[in-house]
Every structure is written in C-alpha cells, then in structure tokens.
Symmetry: C2
Subunit: 388 residues, 2 copies
C-alpha cells in the first residue's frame, strides 16, 4: 500500500425528497446564484421549477446558463465565467449530470482567475481559489458530485482535458434517485459503463497489499452489475436507481476506494481523444475502449484479472489457468456491455482509421500514459486498432 492523503468535504443529501434541503444549503453561501444546466430535460421533468422554488425560498437572485453540452465546451465555460463577473455571482448551482457539474467547476475556478481558464486544463496553472458550488444530480455516472475533478473540451483545437483541485469540490450535492427515473435508456447504460470504468482504472493496479481497497472496488462492480438490468427494465425502481447512484458517487470519490493504490487512467485518456474529435458520449467510448485495453494489458498482472473474473463475475476457477480466468473475465465484461446495449466498436459510430494516428499522438501529449502497463503512442494506436 502506498502512502496517501485524503480529504473530501462535500456534504451529501441522499434520498427521495432530499431536494428540500436545497434552499437551506444555498442560503449558507450567498444570494447571487448562477444556475447551470444542460438541455431542456429538467424543464420537461419539472425539476427546473422545483429548483427555482428552492432558490426563491432562499431569497436568491438567479442568473442562468443553460445548454451545457454532453462533452462540455470551453466556449460555454467562458460564457459562464463572464456571467459570474457581470452579475457578481457568489454561488454556482449545477443541476444535471457530470457534464453540467464539470462545466460548473471550471466556471467556479475560472471566475476567480485572471488568466485564461484553459491554463488549468493545459497544466499551465493550478487553481488557487474558486467560487463555491453545489449540485443537484440527475444522472448516476461520473462521481463529479463528490470529487474535485472536471473534464472540458476545447472544441476549436479538438482537445479534451481534465483538471483537479480541492477548491472545486462541491460544498454539497443533492442525490435524489427519483430524479434519475426519466434518464433515457442509452444514458443509463453509459452511466453504468462510466461507473464501472472508474473502478477499473483504480482496481487494475500493480500496487500490492491492498486487500480492502480491492474488495471495495469489487463491491461497487458487483452492485452496479446486479442493478443495471433492473434499472433498465424498470426505470422507476427506486432501489436499483439508488444503488447505482450511490455506487457512482463512491466509485470516483476523491479516490476513496483505492487510497494507497497507484491508479491507471490510460483508458480515460484514450477515450477522451475519441470524444474530443467525434463528440460521442464518454460512457459509450469507454465501453468500446475498455475491453480492448484489458486484453492489451492484462498480462502485466494476470492474477488481478483472474481475481476480477472469480470475485466479480463468479467464474468458477476450477481447472482454469490464471490466463484463462483473466481472459474469461474480460470476455464477461464485453458480454455484459453488449447485453445492456453499450457499443463495442468504433464502427458503431462510423469512426474509421482517419484520425487514429493524431488521436494516439494527442493521448500521449504529456508523456506515456497508464501505470498498470505504460502505454506509448504505438500502444495507444494498437488499442484504437483493436477497437475499430
């Protein structure tokens, strides 16, 4: 186990009815609020009105930034920063999924920075301060509701980058599973893949002597797997939605489940280059990339992959070699993704070879990626090839 440090100060209000906490929470941080959301779904579902009611009860004056894209864009973030400055915004409320929250974090940091907010994404500057923000989560997926990470796309340069800072942890997040009842099937699927992928990035690690952390990872994977199909078949099944939502939050919780383990994160880097150019959903990209990454790297530590096969998928180890078990676990992953309707190939989005070289180049822009097996440009390109 590696040495580690950890602090996660986000307050969570979880459960049916937890939206009622919003007005009291907002009241602690300021009267001038930037309300950030995506497309029209929160208006259609009635959530928009319920949120405004809470904001009014808090006596807040509200400025709105709507239309946050699924892969949130730098131009939109800059719009939000401008709004904060013009209106003297004191608090940012993100109502939506990971994209809305990630955009809000970048706005929060950018509003307190004199330079270009892209500096944080391009690793030219570190966040020193940020406006406080809170979230009302409508999609179980990224864990952004309880961590300090954000991923933003610069659409002009087709670069997708992330930054992290203790300053952008949400002050509070409201997690009401009933708000995910209306999430469309494909987004539910993408969320499930995203949650599982976050665990994979942490679980497939070369660090030894981490039995608790491994089990915490396995616990989330097992729970997501057994609840995914229930939520897809019964979108208003409270228990299934609640279980998936809480799994999503814990899966990427400032690293809570894998403290002391070296993480990998290569697959996320590999996926980001796809969605930066082709604007496909992040979860869908991960569904395509991950089984191929697994196959490409598993021999760095087949025992961990064998353990995954046995503990997560319940594959009987009798008479199987470690390699056979590892490969069976990878195939079980692929089969599950396909079963719930997640894409398996880039061709699903009509993506061919055209940009593979450029994408591989960009993926290793800051040097080789991954720690389970370090990947250089040629390795990344090979994984893209396997994903065609």
């Amino acid at each position: 186990m590696n040495p580690f440090s950890f602090r996660n100060p986000t307050a969570i209000f979880f459960g049916d009815g937890s939206l009622s906490k919003l007005s009291e929470q907002i009241g602690q941080y300021g009267k001038s609020v930037l309300l950030v959301y995506g497309g029209g779904s929160i208006k259609k579902s009635g959530l928009y009105d319920r949120v405004l009611e809470q904001l009014n009860a808090a006596g807040a004056s509200v400025v709105e930034l709507s239309g946050i894209e699924p892969n949130p864009r730098l131009t939109t973030v800059n719009k939000g920063i401008e709004l904060c400055r013009t209106h003297g915004v004191e608090f940012i409320l993100a109502v939506g999924g990971g994209s809305v929250i990630d955009a809000s974090k970048a706005i929060a940091a950018g509003a307190k920075y004199e330079g270009d907010v892209w500096d944080f994404l391009d690793r030219k500057a570190a966040v020193q301060d940020a406006l406080p923000l809170g979230t009302v989560l409508t999609l179980a997926a990224t864990g952004s509701e309880m961590n300090g990470s954000s991923v933003i796309t610069n659409w002009e340069t087709q670069l997708k980058r992330g930054f992290g800072s203790p300053h952008v942890y949400p002050r509070f997040s409201i997690l009401d599973p009933t708000l995910t009842y209306t999430v469309p099937r494909d987004q539910t699927v993408n969320g499930v893949v995203d949650i599982m992928s976050h665990v994979f990035e942490q679980y497939f690690s070369l660090t030894t002597d981490t039995p608790l952390q491994e089990r915490l990872c396995e616990s989330i994977l097992q729970t997501v797997i057994e609840n995914a199909e229930i939520a897809l078949e019964q979108p208003e099944n409270y228990a299934a939605r609640a279980n998936i939502m809480w799994c999503g939050t814990l899966a990427l919780n400032g690293g809570l489940i894998s403290l002391g383990m070296t993480n990998d994160w290569a697959s996320h880097g590999i996926e980001h280059e796809i969605s930066a150019i082709y604007d496909i959903p992040h979860g869908a990209g991960l569904s395509i990339v991950f089984p191929n990454w697994m196959k490409y790297v598993y021999d760095a530590r087949p025992d961990r992959f064998a353990q995954y096969a046995v503990r997560v998928w319940g594959i009987d180890p009798a008479g199987k070699s470690e390699d056979e078990l590892a490969l069976a676990g990878i195939e079980a992953t692929r089969a599950f993704f396909t079963k719930i309707g997640a894409p398996a190939t880039l061709s699903h989005y009509n993506i061919g070879r055209d940009n593979l070289d450029r994408m591989a180049e960009e993926a290793v822009r800051f040097g080789p990626i991954g720690s389970f097996k370090q990947l250089n440009k040629e390795d990344v390109k090979a994984i893209y090839e396997l994903s065609l």
Copy 2:
C-alpha cells in the same frame, strides 16, 4: 435504503513517514497547543520526542495533559478544559488511541461551553462550537480519528456515555502504521474486536436494498480477519498493520459504510455498562458481549446472519438451513475471538451476577436499545446472563 446525509471533512495523512506532515498542519490552526496523551508508551517509543520536534518546527507553545485513561474519565476531561482556558489554547493535538482522541473531543467541546461538559454526554445540551483538534493515531481500533463521536466515563457515578457532533471531527489525522508496531498483543486483539464490532453494529440491520453497504461491511470484516493473525505473529508487518489501521478508520467513519441503513448499537450500550463499573477494556467487553447478542437476536433476520456466514467466513451453504448457517457464522465469530486471544466470558474478569440488574437498568436509561431487535431491560439482562 433510507434517506441519509453525510459529511466527513477530516484530512487523512496515511503511511510510513506521514508524521512529517504534522508541523505544517498544526501551523494552520494556532500557536497555543494542548498536547493530550495517555500513559508513558509514547515516551518509551520515542514518538513523544518526534511530535515535540514537529510542534517546535511549527513554533507552537505547548501545554500537556497526560495520563488519559483507557476508559477516559470526566475528571480528566475537566482538567483539560481548565488547561485550555488558563492557557488560551487554540488547538488540541491528541496523540494516542481512541481514548485519547475521545477525551480530546470532549475537551474541545467543553472549552467552548460555559456549562458542565457532562451536559453533552447526558443529552442535556448539544455541542455548538469546539476548539479545532487533530490526531496522531497509535492504535487501530475506534475510528475516532475520522468521526465526530466520543465516549466518556463519569467514574463517580459509574456512567459511561457518548456524544457526537460535526464540530469535533478532527481537522486532520496522521495514520502511520509503523506507530502501531509497539502496541501490545492484548491491545492489538482488542482493537481488532472493536473494529469488527463497529461493523457488526451497522451490518446487522433490518434495512433492505442496501447491497453495496453490506458488501462494504463484509470487505472490512474479511480484511481484518485475514490480517489479524499476521499482525499478532509479526507485530512489525507493515502491510498487516496498515490494512488493519485503514479498516479501523473506515469501519466507523461517520457511518460511511452503512449510509442509508438503520444501525443497532445495542451491544456497545451493553458493553459500556460493564466497563463503566469494572473498567475492563472496551474491546474485551465487546468480545464477551457480541457473540451472545448475536445468538439472542439473530432470528430477527436469519438471512442476514446466513449471508454473513457465507460471505465473511466462507461457510459452505450446501445442505444447511438459514438458521444453521446463521448459527455457524456466530460460532465462527466466537471461535475467531478465542483464537486470537480475546476473552469470551465475564468470569474472565471475575465479574459475577452482582451488578447485572443495575447494569441492565442503566443500559436502557434512555429507553429500549437496538434496532435489529429492540431490547428492554429484561433482554439486556438475559444477554449479560449469557455472557457470564
């Protein structure tokens, strides 16, 4: 799953060498520090000198309160409060195990309260403010290093009570597994029992639809069980000490592992009455009480006990009824406690029937205890009888 709220702002610095973070951390909170510790073990081990070095580096002026008892006493807490007032203490540093930390929390709260600190323990007042505190943990057991709970004994009235408040979460805790190398065997054993007991109080719950929470509990139990004997045989085994330490912190972490589950906590109440009168170690008392509590209550939900037997102890369910499995899991618990050298009966401490009635009366002072099965005075007395 029940609705829940959660916030745990404690910063953790974990690993060999993490003591080096102390001076920087202290520096954030004030120059006048109350250093709280127990017997002489930290002087013998050299930790005392290393801590003072860090305090000096932070430019702190230090007042000391030593001699915190294993079941920390109100009189000692009051001494600490007095010291805080006399010396204008700005920050409390607890160096020790759960008793030292619990005492420090009560001092932190009492120093900011005009009335008698016992009011908090007697539920006559709620904590509104507290001095900031930090900890250097030397014993893996209570989880007090990352939660807002404290248990104090009023030795004059022989009452042992707890209080909890968001104001007494440590600002930071330094968790260096090497600091537990010198913990005596019996205290290591008591710590292991304490950690497992904390999980039991949460895991044996009537709440349904909590598959993730159940698995998180099982993960800690399995990890503690498989590392306990290693740590006992090889006290300087870093991995075993680190795994147990991190299990202890997560086991009682503001409720993290069981959010959304109704907890029980009857066994702790039952134990507290024993150690309030006989001053036996808390972990030893739990080792005596818990298997008997289990046997007394398991029929409220044998399926959870059967799951425990199968998943935690690996008991083969083939051909066994739910009840048989449940009982086998309880016996496995008792056998494990015995195997690691934890006591099984009150007679181990020469405790007879004398005070059983009074103890049972006190245990239900605020009404019936427990939620898995609600226990009144007669039930508590029956569990004491089973424990003789």
